[in-house]
């Protein structure tokens, strides 16, 4: 096999000219591979089954979202952010809308904030469900995938009823929400919560004490809290390493300061802890939604914003806790209707950097487990 031009730190060893020809094996995992969650390409350098090093090659799903933003007005760009992390479109929209609101110096009315929290937390549950299903599938347990997709459907139905779309929802507008909640929204959400609570136990029953699952995930893909911070890793991966950092608590946005919830953390920073943290997060999300849906205040859903958005000259960075970690938007405004520059800080992209550190010295099967546990979405990595 010829060395690939991409391989930088994976330099090939001296070619062994003996009969056995025993140099390392370089294999190409992806971009078409069932377990790379999209079009991630990982070049693996293997010694038998042991991983000596990895190199991620990204960009197969690059659409130039940040550049597109420079040629669209603030309002027009809103639907584009849904296409980055397409399994957590609501979170993306929330981050963008809040960033622009901050830039414009407007604040969404309380009712809109509550609706935003409910939908975002529902979206966090769908994102974690999708993660759980695919992660378990990668490790070989095929059944949880169908269970999670069955329950995810119920949330998507609520989204569809609310804004007509299931995945790329475009649920929020700059300054609030476009749609008033439909008749029976609260009942639907409450019904879903009652339906969903036992389902989390069902997922846990399938996996948490499953001997093979524990063996496959405990001690796999270790990363310490310090390393996480050094690499900028955020979200459940950071929390599973024992760092209590959640932007919903640290820098509350939307209406999160009104609700009681805990930040689940792990101790070991391995795949099993990340699994437990995400499962606990689903329960916390349920708790937040329960509080929010009971107390949606009356009032307008849209703040007073001008028809043509022309934010003052300046720059703003606003970040939210997306299901995968810190999702930040950095917007530079030159006073026109279009952003001068828009930069997205995608959690998946930053978290993916930890892959190499987490899999070195482990086995091929662990690479799959770690890619799954990092919970990356290539739409967001490549943008």
């Amino acid at each position: 096999m010829k060395p690939d031009s991409y391989i930088s730190h994976l330099e090939l060893g001296e070619k062994d000219e003996t009969f056995l020809d025993s140099n390392e094996l370089i294999i190409n995992m992806g971009p078409q591979h069932p377990a790379t969650h999209g079009v991630l390409r990982v070049i693996l350098k293997l010694d038998g089954e042991k991983v000596l090093g990895t190199e991620c090659v990204i960009g197969y799903l690059h659409r130039g979202v940040e550049k597109i933003a420079e040629n669209r007005t603030y309002t027009m760009f809103n639907p584009y952010v849904d296409r980055m992390d397409y399994v957590a479109a609501v979170s993306n929209g929330l981050g963008y809308c809040e960033a622009v609101e901050k830039l414009l110096n407007v604040e969404a009315p309380p009712r809109a904030k509550y609706i935003r929290v409910i939908l975002t937390e529902l979206n966090r549950i769908t994102s974690h469900q999708l993660w759980l299903g695919t992660h378990a599938l990668d490790i070989g347990a095929i059944t949880p995938l169908f269970y999670t997709f069955r329950d995810r459907e119920e949330i998507l139905k609520i989204f569809e009823k609310y804004c007509g779309a299931r995945l790329t929802t475009h649920a929020f507008r700059i300054g609030g929400c476009q749609y008033e909640t439909y008749e029976g929204f609260e009942q639907d959400v409450k019904k879903f919560l009652d339906f969903f609570k036992p389902k989390i136990d069902e997922y846990e029953e399938l996996l948490t004490t499953n001997r093979i699952w524990v063996e496959r995930t405990k001690g796999v893909g270790l990363i310490s809290g310090k390393e996480c911070i050094a690499l900028g890793v955020t979200g459940p991966v950071l929390r599973a390493s024992g760092v209590r950092w959640d932007i919903r608590k640290a820098q509350p946005y939307a209406a999160y300061s009104d609700f009681q919830f805990e930040i689940p953390i792990g101790q070991n920073g391995d795949t099993y802890d990340r699994y437990l943290v995400r499962m606990a997060e689903m329960r916390q999300s349920v708790r937040i939604i329960e509080q929010a849906v009971g107390g949606i205040p009356e009032g307008p859903i849209m703040a007073k914003v001008p028809k043509v958005l022309k934010p003052p000259v300046g720059e703003i960075y606003h970040s939210i806790e997306a299901p995968k970690g810190e999702l930040g938007y950095f917007i530079v405004s030159d006073g026109s209707t279009q952003p001068y520059r828009l930069r997205v800080r995608p959690p998946s992209f930053v978290n993916l950097q930890a892959l190499d550190m987490m899999v070195r010295g482990q086995l091929v099967a662990d690479v799959i487990a770690v890619i799954g546990t990092l919970d990356i979405v290539l739409g967001e990595v490549d943008r």
Partner: protein, 425 residues
């Protein structure tokens, strides 16, 4: 000539022993057909059962309840383009699936479906079976090597390593069972256990030994038989590369493992071989530990009445299946769009019912009973295979090795030694 054909019917040995080539050929054809049908049925059942475990319906479109799906799939595979990678080792690439499929079918020569229902009865039957079935791994290694591609290569490596580690534990468990044929003693805790011991390696002999000792070997020298059976039951899953030990073809890691580069008919040969290998090892387990063709409780529930009741089971099973199919026919939507499907399902119900009725004829039911009990026990194992697949994640390579060498192997040696000791005492 006619005499040559009919004379065998009155004998009570296998065609191979009777030296009757005609009937041996008939048996081979019957086993081949039966096995193919079993693989097709298994394919459908696996998809259906797995689907129902996973809150979905499985195949529903081709034929009533997707009954024709395996046939449609087989047709599709036959019609696919035959692709051979340019860099592949042509001869080996061609030979590998044949190697796998031939070994998978050859083992059935000695599988005893009944005291006379086997192609032949070798005095080294179990050795032959283990030997030939482990040759199949060679085919897998050949396939992985000849593809000249990385994923298949890793799959092949995993497969050979897996075979080495599990074959030994499996062999030890088998030796324990063979030892039990010669140890007639009640031992310290044996249940039943009377009659003389006959040391034998013949597949039919092993079942006859269980018959003579009035005990299935799974219960003999409790719990030794059970442990040996457990070792075998784990090792046989690893041996056939099925979940949770499906590392050589680990879909999410190695795309499709050793058969990544295979497609169309060649791939279907691997598929066929995998399923017939599953049936083969399950038959070994049934023969060695679960009393082969014997009906349940031959000692406790003996006597003419019980014999009659148990001999009605095959017919009852088919009639029950016919009833289920018939109820399904009634419940079909009454729309013209479904007319052909409804007719098909009804026809299927009638076919099953007819088979059930034929099985009520005394001569037939007495002759076929053995095959029925054997198949039911094997089917139980097949269900277990599907169940494992629906439940377990996949083991990692090193964990698999640890399990083979550090758990199953010492257990196997221990069981073997204890069996010998207990038998002599």
């Amino acid at each position: 000539m006619l005499d040559y054909i009919t004379s065998y019917l009155r004998s009570n040995t296998t065609p191979g022993q009777a030296g009757n080539i005609f009937w041996a050929f008939v048996y081979i054809v019957l086993i081949f057909l039966g096995l193919s049908i079993a693989v097709i049925a298994m394919n459908w059942l696996e998809r259906k059962i797995l689907a129902h475990m996973q809150v979905r319906l499985g195949p529903m479109r081709v034929g009533p309840h997707g009954l024709l799906q395996p046939i449609a799939d087989a047709l599709k595979l036959l019609l696919k383009e035959d692709i051979m990678p340019a860099e592949a080792d042509k001869a080996v690439f061609w030979a590998a699936p044949l190697m796998v499929v031939i070994t998978a079918f050859t083992v059935f020569i000695v599988v005893p479906f009944g005291p006379t229902h086997a192609v032949t009865d070798m005095n080294i039957g179990i050795l032959f079976m283990l030997g030939v079935s482990s040759l199949g791994v060679l085919g897998i290694v050949m396939a992985g090597w000849a593809s000249n591609s990385h994923y298949p290569l890793i799959g092949a490596l995993r497969s050979s390593a897996q075979m080495v580690s599990y074959e030994i534990a499996m062999g030890l468990a088998v030796v324990a069972a063979v030892l039990m044929t010669s140890l007639s003693g009640i031992g310290v805790y044996g249940i039943g256990g009377s009659g003389d011991g006959t040391g034998t390696l013949s597949m039919i002999g092993i079942v006859q030994a269980q018959q003579a000792q009035h005990v299935w070997f799974i219960f003999k020298f409790f719990p030794l038989g059970l442990i040996a059976f457990f070792i075998f039951a784990v090792a046989m899953v690893a041996e056939t590369n099925r979940a949770p030990f499906d590392l050589p073809e680990a879909e999410s890691e190695l795309t499709a493992g050793f058969h990544t580069e295979y497609s169309g008919f060649r791939w279907s040969l691997f598929f066929l071989a995998e399923y017939s290998a599953m049936i083969a090892v399950s038959s070994i387990a049934v023969t060695l530990w679960l009393g082969g063709w014997m009906r349940p409780f031959p000692t406790w529930l003996s006597g003419e009445t019980w014999d009659l009741i148990f001999s009605l089971f095959p017919a009852a099973t088919f009639l029950l299946l016919a009833l289920i199919a018939f109820l399904g026919t009634i419940r079909m939507p009454k729309h013209p769009y479904f007319r052909i499907q409804t007719l098909g399902l009804g026809g299927f119900a009638v076919l099953l019912g007819l088979i059930g009725l034929v099985l009520l004829i005394p001569d037939v039911r007495n002759r076929v009973q053995d095959i029925y009990w054997f198949s039911i026990k094997v089917a139980g194992f097949m269900y277990l295979y599907i169940w494992y697949r629906g439940t377990f994640p996949r083991y990692r390579f090193d964990q698999l090795m640890k399990m083979g060498w550090k758990v199953l192997l010492p257990m196997g040696i221990g069981v073997l030694i204890l069996t010998a000791l207990v038998g002599v005492l």
